[in-house]
């Protein structure tokens, strides 16, 4: 064994590091492929991809940007949950405390807010890119469908999060949405029942707030995370990112 004399040697040339990363330094084809296949996160990407896949101008990284925004929203959202209490007496004041009294509260709240707006935009742009490059065609129809569900989930996450500050904007937005749901035909049966379970009563109040909160912080993110996993996996199974026919 070589003498340990550089920082890299001290960091990587020891038993602990080698128990985590069981392959050699990825400087040849074999260890490069091992680096991918032996890593839970990296093995989502196949070892070898078509040049087209890594051409930035083709995908513009829109799907990955959407995914990164989802990660940012998860991290900032969990942190915000430490201060935010979903009660109609406290929600608005907790939001104001995050802005004015909690250290780094305003940057986390704004990251969450702008990240959410960004995610809606980038998921939509991603959908446009897939459409314009014909990525929805066979054999990728199912993944396109999952993508549509993910777009709807993104919009629902955006909507449920919109209620949580419990200010005038939030209150009236939810009032409108609840009444919109109430018009689902046939109104007297389906619409009325849907409105009743979404609001948790007849008036928008504490029940509505906790329902939207639970949907926002656990139900929708969990479903979205699972579907994101399937979405990524299907890209590989469907033969990688769409590309023009071989010349």
């Amino acid at each position: 064994m070589k003498k340990k004399n550089t920082i890299a040697d001290l960091l990587f040339n020891n038993r602990f590091w080698k128990s985590v990363f069981r392959h050699d330094y990825p400087d040849n084809d074999l260890s490069r492929s091992e680096a991918m296949t032996s890593n839970l996160f990296l093995h989502i990407q196949s070892v070898k991809v078509h040049t087209n896949t890594i051409r930035p101008g083709y995908t513009l990284g829109l799907g990955l940007i959407s995914f990164y925004l989802f990660i940012i929203l998860t991290i900032t959202g969990v942190l915000l949950m430490f201060y935010y209490i979903p009660s109609i007496e406290r929600a608005y004041n907790d939001m104001k405390d995050l802005e004015f009294a909690v250290s780094y509260g305003i940057i986390l709240r704004n990251l969450h807010r702008w990240g959410a707006h960004g995610m809606v935009a980038f998921v939509f742009f991603h959908m446009c890119r897939v459409f314009y490059t014909g990525g929805y065609k066979q054999p990728r129809e199912f993944n396109w469908g999952i993508g549509i569900v993910l777009l709807i989930l993104t919009l629902f996450l955006s909507l449920t999060g919109y209620l949580l500050p419990w200010d005038q904007l939030a209150f009236w937005a939810i009032t409108i949405v609840a009444n919109l749901i109430g018009t689902s035909p046939p109104e007297s049966i389906l619409g009325a029942s849907l409105r009743y379970i979404v609001v948790g009563g007849r008036e928008v109040g504490q029940n509505a707030l906790i329902r939207f909160y639970v949907m926002h912080v656990i139900v929708l993110p969990l479903v979205a995370a699972v579907l994101i996993g399937v979405h990524f996996w299907r890209i590989r199974k469907d033969g990688g990112i769409s590309r023009p026919a071989e010349e």
Partner: protein, 163 residues
């Protein structure tokens, strides 16, 4: 790395090394900054807890030669015990694990129900696992005649307000 690559020689800094260094510097410093912010975020700056300085009624509310438990503020008002005539305030938070010891008049001592610590009338530990005596709180009388307790300010057992 080749053998010619001598450490510390400025001329050996290649473009690749330069960008590698600044790439890692950028990633690690932004991670460190985010981690610091997240940890600092967890320390609240504003608390919605009762003040540690509060009023507990007038001296005349507490008869001579008694020990009175004030549940809301977790303390005992001691008046005319242990040869000291005035009013003294002692914590009712056991110094072991924070339970509430009970005043036992017959034995002239506090007994904690959780782990059996016993404190005498001076607040000293005479039995059980408690590591420290019960603290006596600094006490004053406000202009309106009410007793003001400062539960962050400890005093000696003979500190009293004369009645």
């Amino acid at each position: 790395m080749s053998e010619k690559d001598v450490k510390g020689d400025v001329n050996n800094i290649t473009r690749r090394k330069f960008f590698l260094f600044f790439g890692w510097f950028g990633i690690l410093s932004s991670l460190a900054g985010s981690a610091f912010g997240a940890v600092r975020f967890m320390f609240p700056n504003v608390l919605y807890e009762p003040s540690t300085t509060f009023k507990i009624g007038k001296p005349s509310d507490y008869p001579p030669n008694t020990v009175t438990f004030v549940q809301d503020n977790r303390l005992f008002v001691v008046r005319g015990k242990d040869g000291i005539e005035g009013i003294r305030i002692i914590s009712s938070i056991c110094t072991h694990m924070g339970c509430t010891p009970k005043w036992v008049e017959a034995k002239n001592q506090w007994e904690c129900p959780c782990h059996g610590s016993v404190f005498n009338i001076k607040g000293e530990v005479i039995a059980g696992p408690a590591p420290k005596p019960l603290p006596w709180y600094k006490t004053t009388v406000a202009p309106d005649g009410k007793i003001v307790v400062d539960s962050k300010n400890y005093v000696k057992p003979d500190y009293q307000i004369k009645v």
